[in-house]
């Protein structure tokens, strides 16, 4: 032990004069801060502008009838998009049930077992799939499901959207799992926990909030897709509760109404767009709140 009783010899403190911050630095500082604020505003502005315009154009046509009735024939006033709202939910539910497990599974493979050539191939294919135009995915689902069933269906629409969800979910899941420190995996191995158990109960669980972000991104992206539904779900003017029959979807209904020559239909298209965006925001927010509710203090 060093002797702590005697004081060390006092060191002379060197005299340095720190010059005052120059005006150039101050100006640059303010300029860069302003640039950052301006870019944030520029990024957020379109979002708020779109939402505000949708509310302005659509809110007037949203009423009980719009939310509870099916479309009226041309020329008759009133009617609504209830069947399309439900149809969109059904198609998105099918897409999520099919797409999320495959996407997360592929992400787990890429991060935990795919640090090699096979992984590189999957990564490449997945990135290419992400860039395939959505209408092409629609054709694939047409060939896979519609041709075989001999008619359009919610299932076919769900399959098309599921295919679109998989690459986004896979890559974000991979990134999120890679962020989990190796030490956490080792802690589980050290307790005699097998590798697959560790992956599911430790690694994936630790990365949950990031993985869910990826899932919600993919969900929000496909929720507004129209092209892949054109010849899969096809659309329907009436109620349909069967997943193997042509099904209405909000995006399809908006498309049909927006290109029609009737003012009443235009107004309903705006209302439909507003409902669609509220549904997406609502779904994302609900999942976020549910996740936060299950999180511990300090985690």
């Amino acid at each position: 032990m060093p002797d702590t009783n005697s004081n060390p010899p006092a060191l002379p403190i060197p005299q340095v004069s720190i010059p005052p911050i120059s005006w150039r630095r101050r100006v640059t500082d303010h300029a860069m801060t302003s640039v950052a604020i301006v870019t944030v505003v520029l990024v957020l502005l379109p979002l708020f502008a779109i939402f505000a315009y949708l509310v302005y154009k659509g809110i007037g046509s949203i009423n009980l009838a719009f939310l509870t009735q099916t479309p009226k024939p041309v020329g008759e006033p009133g009617g609504g998009m209830a069947n399309a709202i439900v149809g969109s939910m059904v198609i998105l539910a099918i897409a999520s049930v099919l797409g999320v497990p495959f996407g997360i599974g592929a992400g787990i493979f890429l991060s935990e077992y795919g640090r090699n050539r096979y992984g590189d191939i999957v990564r490449f294919v997945s990135d290419v799939l992400n860039g395939v135009p959505s209408i092409v995915i629609g054709i694939v689902a047409y060939g896979l499901v519609v041709m075989r069933q001999k008619h359009f269906s919610a299932l076919a629409g769900g399959v098309a959207l599921a295919i679109m969800m998989v690459p986004t979910i896979a890559r974000t899941t991979e990134q999120m799992l890679l962020l989990v420190p190796q030490a956490i995996r080792e802690a589980a191995y050290g307790l005699g926990v097998s590798r697959w158990r560790t992956t599911l109960s430790i690694t994936l669980r630790t990365a949950t909030s990031g993985v869910i972000t990826g899932v919600m991104l993919a969900f929000a992206r496909v929720a507004g897709e129209t092209a892949p539904l054109l010849f899969t779900a096809f659309g329907n003017q009436f109620w349909n509760w069967k997943t193997d029959q042509p099904t209405a979807a909000l995006s399809l209904q908006i498309f049909t109404y927006a290109i029609s020559p009737f003012d009443e239909w235009h107004r309903q298209a705006w209302a439909g767009a507003l409902v669609l965006i509220i549904l997406i925001v609502g779904a994302v927010a609900a999942v976020r709140i549910a996740v936060r509710h299950g999180t511990l203090a300090g985690a």
Partner: protein, 252 residues
């Protein structure tokens, strides 16, 4: 009860680089054995060979024989079975961040399929008691995450987690290197008590710590075990010149 460890002609490799050269050692049951040596000399690699943690690194491999009690580590034993009998505490505290304090301690048992609620409660209580953490956390076992504790508490949580699976051997890889002196003191006291039930192998950079907690000490240098003897002998009258130079601070 702890069991003894025997290691014969152990060599370990990372790809083409050899990290350990012909290690032979017999660790006594229910004693603490310290491994000292400069950074990069293979101490950590060595204890990771004892619970086959070494092989989780790609391209790493081992040859030689290791026996833990009556269990042959590299001959027909599954790594997961082995690791349930050989607990490990790591250099940096690594609690599972999404789990509560309770779930952290119960993790080893739960993830291996043990679900009896009452017994789990009891084991969690006992393990936290054994790691001298119970009094500090008993009021928020389920409410707080393991990651919300202080560094020293986290390390004791990790010790409790390792104890909960009721191992016979406890490997500690520099368990105090990230902790302040007070937490270090608590963990050293703990090692003293744990010796009665477990065989402890501890890697440390702190020679005083080795002298305080361990009956036996091994000195590693460049992947070789230079000397292995009673701690007292290593620090007062080592037979090898290099050991003497290291413990007297002339190099390393």
């Amino acid at each position: 009860m702890g069991v003894g460890i025997t290691v014969e002609h152990l060599n370990a490799f990372y790809g083409k680089t050899q990290a350990l050269f012909d290690i032979n050692i017999a660790v006594l049951a229910n004693h603490a054995t310290a491994l000292i040596g400069p950074s990069g000399c293979g101490k950590s690699t060595f204890i990771r060979c004892l619970n086959r943690m070494h092989e989780t690194i790609p391209e790493a491999r081992v040859d030689g024989a290791v026996r833990i009690g009556d269990l042959s580590v590299y001959n027909g034993t599954s790594a997961t079975q082995l690791r349930r009998r050989v607990g490990m505490v790591f250099q940096k505290p690594n609690p599972f961040p999404t789990m509560s304090i309770y779930d952290n301690v119960a993790a080893g048992l739960k993830l291996n399929g043990f679900r009896k609620r009452k017994q789990l409660d009891e084991i969690v209580h006992k393990s936290l008691n054994a790691s001298a953490l119970w009094d500090e956390v008993k009021d928020h076992l389920h409410k707080k995450s393991g990651a919300s504790l202080s560094g020293g508490q986290q390390q004791r949580l990790c010790i409790a987690r390792a104890l909960a699976v009721q191992p016979e051997v406890l490997l500690m890889d520099e368990p105090c290197s990230a902790l302040d002196p007070i937490s270090t003191g608590k963990i050293e006291e703990l090692i003293f008590q744990l010796k009665e039930q477990y065989t402890i192998v501890i890697v440390t950079h702190n020679m005083q710590q080795a002298a305080r907690v361990a009956e036996f000490t091994g000195f590693f240098l460049l992947g070789k075990m230079i000397e292995f003897d009673k701690t007292e002998k290593i620090f007062t009258n080592p037979s090898d010149k290099r050991t003497e130079d290291y413990v007297t601070g002339r190099f390393g």
